[in-house]
Amino acid sequence: MKEREVVVIGGGFSGLMAAIRSARAGKRTALLQYGSGAFPLNSGLIDILGYDREKNEVKNPLEAIKNLPKKHPYHRIGEAAVRSSADFFLKLMEEQGFPYEGSVTAHRHVATAIGTWKPSSLVPASMDLPDLKGKRIIVVDVKGLKDFDGKMAAANLTERVDSVVESTRIELEPVEGRDITLLSCARFMENGGWQKAVEALRPLDAEDVIFLFPQVLGIQGNNVYRALSKALKGSVVETTGMPPSANGMRLRDVLLRAAWSAGVEIVENAHVIGAETEGKTCKYIRVQAGVHEQHYSAERFILATGGFYSGGLYMEDLQKPREVVFDLPVSFDKSHWTDKDFFAEQGFMLTGIATDESLRPVDAMGTVVLDNVRIVGRNLDGYDFCREHSGNGVALSSAYKAATF
């Protein structure tokens, strides 16, 4: 039996944040991860709340939380935790040399790969837009690059801003008939390729220019962003992109290092296959590590296994979704599982685990099921993070709260 004070299950954004905070609070913490969470899909933007239920962009996310439906996890997490978790995150990122900008009471806007704007609260430096007034925006496409079309992005942005957005196409690597993914381009940029980009963009470079790049500015830290910003007179800005998301990978890398230095014990390839409970207490969890089964006990278990995408929830047939580690009750409305309109609020997105205000799992009657378990991130019930743009916000604030002692 491995005895720890805190065991975090899941190495995605919420799991890593919970582990870092636990360790910093002096708890002996283990983080069990199996894969890399949803990071390859995660833009790395911290959206608190982008849209209200009528899909209008909210002005002040923290303020707008008040108007959310009763069941929304933000009401359980509380405004105070949302605010403090953002401060905690901004400070952490600053320390790690990967600064984020923004606040929970206003929106910044980032450009997306298809040429729309997206509101977000905390934004990495490389994606943060400067004031557009009097600026010439040029979308930078790369020859042979897949999953990004500079011309279409520029045309769509033009329709959504009061000026003409241009595009240019630079050649970095010879194409030679193979597909260049965003990630391989990002690697190339990191290994000196950024200098070729600077040369190619020199003729267009001026102080009033904003160069809008696909998400290719390196896969670790923000060295490529800093180097480009220094070498070019114009501003350098990245858009969101298709998975694997380079910025999601950078964020993961930074957080892993922060966890490491905070003293988190990171266990890789740890597949949690079940839990042993006694009354309302989880005694230990069972972990498949290679051919061996190991047991971890803890004073507190933080469940950060994610939703359907990450595998924390599973719907075998159309009868009843299952929570895979503790077999917790899943709050689920069978009559509203899907909506015919793909972009409407979807019942399967609202499906998850109901909790009390301490984020302990509860049953349909509201009674706590396990005292020493906390639920964080996507497997909380009551919010469609895609529609309202709140995924990383709920992940961050719930992780912060679950790791408060």
């Binding site: 949803a38 899909l41 833009s43 959206d47 982008g50 899909k55 962009e57 806007h109 997306t112 790969a113 298809i114 040429g115 729309t116 704007w117 997206k118 557009l132 042979g144 897949k146 999953d147 990004f148 079309d149 011309k151 279409m152 045309a155 769509n156 033009t158 329709e159 959504r160 801003v161 194409v175 030679e176 008939g177 193979r178 597909d179 969101t240 992109g241 298709m242 998975p243 998301s245 939703g307 359907f308 995408y309 595998g311 599973y314 719907m315 075998e316 047939d317 159309l318 599982w337 899907t338 015919k340 793909f342 972009f343 399967f348 997105m349 993070f385 895609c386 529609r387 743009h389 995924g391």
Partner: protein, 534 residues
């Protein structure tokens, strides 16, 4: 004013068959279709080229027609038919008496039904239920309905046969008891205009009744909805039919890397209704699992439905109604020049076309004989052309592209790939569609929206169901200059919404995972509805 001697209404298998036959015999013919080709029942079915075994007991005339047409279509539609063969299997629970009738029916209809030992049957189809008590091999095959219809149109074009998609019939002009012309509307732009014609052929399938009403005629058609499931695996290597009285959920047809199971039979009011319901899926799964017991362990790719246009005869509905076809010459009701063809099945589309074309030719005093049974729809891509192209195509993409494109377009695409390595980029990995092929197809006159390109290339119809290729397709289509910026995101949404339609009724298992990802990408990361910056 635009003119055509004959106008054919409906771009399903029957309509394109008539278009080709008339064009080959030298008639001046135009086909109009209100959506894209085969947007009705001709693409919303099993994709089964019947051997006739299904009708051997109930309707031997239909069975005979099937086996004859089956033999013809294999010959003329080489790149549309997968000649995989089929099996009829009887389960313990199926009545034994039916088997003898069926064997006799096959014999008299001319269908070769070879008895298999159980050992042979299980070797051919290892996943078959052990409750199978007898099995026969029959010459069933899989057929790509969309490709076959497209190739009919291409072949017709060589003989001057014209086609207008997204063109809806809104009015039929008549004078002194004769058809004189029609009014049509471009469904994309709303523009209306007249076309002069002397013969109007109503081949609108489920919409035949509505078309006839425009001329004040009554053609009672009962749309009969069939729901089908596409699995993401090849569950069987042959078409597998239950050897019993035709019923729901008793045919499996493998196509490429998927398998289609169907179907149900339900009378509906509106042929546009292609909705599906989880209960229908459950029904199909529970019946299907009698033949393949591990059926539920396979991922369902999507669910879809189409409606059979059954000609209404009093007292016969659903499976009781005839699958045969009917030709009506409305001259008998006082409107010369108007004809309707309704009913039938995909397998016999060519024969149906031949019959009605004979009648039309008689009216037009055309004496040419029908040649649609002899002349191949398109020529095949030569072995030499494939050998030359091999190094430019992704691994298994060569054969796929060759069958999709046909010789001329294949050569053009090969040339682009050879000269411009950038065009070798894969827009759709599941179906191995290169940017060069995408551009070749997108550039065609009949491609207006991303979904038109999908039907002609199979873009987005594979494992990822459009998740990864949707954004690329929108970008690549925009680059061709045929898509305006303001429409690009609306089309992207439309494409994703179309994929969702087939997934929504079966959102379970791995599909929930896929869907959560698709929404996280397009709604969250790309903020597809994102408006103006203030």
């Amino acid at each position: 004013m635009e003119k055509a001697t004959v106008v054919v209404v409906g771009g399903g298998a029957t309509g394109v068959g008539i278009l080709r036959d008339l064009a080959m015999r030298g008639a001046d013919v135009l086909l109009i279709e209100k959506g894209d080709l085969v947007n009705g029942a001709s693409s919303r079915y099993h994709g089964l080229l019947h051997s006739g075994g299904r009708y051997a007991v109930k309707d031997q005339e239909a069975a005979k027609e099937c086996i004859e047409e089956n033999t013809i279509l294999r010959k003329i539609g080489h790149s549309c038919v997968e000649p995989i063969g089929g099996m009829f299997v009887r389960l313990k629970s199926d009545p034994e008496a039916y088997e003898a009738d069926w064997v006799e029916g096959c014999r008299t209809s001319g269908i070769e039904a070879t008895p298999l030992t159980l050992e042979e049957a299980f070797r051919m189809e290892p996943r078959l239920s052990k409750n199978v008590v007898s099995a026969y091999a029959v010459p069933d095959a899989a057929i790509d309905g969309f490709r076959m219809s497209c190739q009919n149109v291409l072949s017709a074009a060589k003989y001057g046969g014209r086609t207008k998609t997204y063109t809806e019939l809104v009015k039929i002009y008549q004078k002194n008891g004769e058809v004189t012309g029609i009014r049509v509307r471009n469904t994309l732009t709303g523009e209306e205009y007249d076309i002069e014609c002397s013969i109007l052929v109503n081949a609108a399938g489920g919409w035949c009744e509505k078309v006839a009403q425009l001329a004040g005629l009554n053609v009672p058609v009962q749309p009969d909805k069939g729901t089908l499931i596409a699995f993401n695996q090849r569950l069987a290597n042959h078409v597998v039919n239950r050897l019993h009285k035709s019923s729901d959920g008793d045919i499996f047809v493998p196509h490429g890397s998927i398998t289609i199971l169907g179907t149900t039979s339900m009378s509906i009011d509106d042929p546009e209704d292609t909705s599906t319901h989880p209960d229908e899926v459950e029904k199909l799964l529970s019946i299907g699992a009698e033949t393949f017991e591990d059926l539920r362990s396979y991922r369902i790719l999507r669910v879809f439905a189409g409606s059979r246009p059954l000609y209404k005869q009093p007292g016969a509905e659903g499976r009781g109604a005839s699958r045969g076809f009917v030709i009506l010459d409305h001259a008998e009701e006082g409107l010369a020049g108007m004809m309707t063809i309704v009913g039938g099945k995909f397998t016999t589309y060519r024969l149906m076309a031949e019959r009605i074309t004979d009648m039309i030719c008689e009216k037009l005093s055309i004496h040419e004989k029908c040649r649609t049974a002899e002349e191949p729809l398109v020529e095949e891509v030569s072995t030499e052309a494939k050998a030359r192209a091999k190094k430019y195509f992704p691994s298994f993409g060569l054969e796929l592209a060759a069958t999709r494109l046909g010789p001329e377009a294949f050569d053009r695409v090969t040339k682009v790939l050879a000269e411009n390595p950038e065009k070798r980029e894969l827009i759709c990995e599941c179906e191995n569609i290169t940017r060069a092929e995408f551009e070749e197809v997108a550039g065609r006159e009949e491609c207006h929206i991303i979904n038109d390109i999908r039907r002609r290339t199979r873009l987005g119809m594979g494992t990822c169901q459009g998740n990864f290729c949707a954004i690329r397709a929108a970008g690549a289509f925009y680059e061709t200059g045929k898509l305006e910026a303001k429409d690009s995101l609306a089309q992207l949404k439309g494409f994703l919404q179309g994929r969702w339609k087939g997934i929504e009724p079966i959102l379970m298992g791995r599909n929930v995972r896929e869907t959560e990802m698709t929404r996280a990408l397009y709604e969250l990361s790309f903020n597809i509805d994102g408006g103006k910056l203030e």
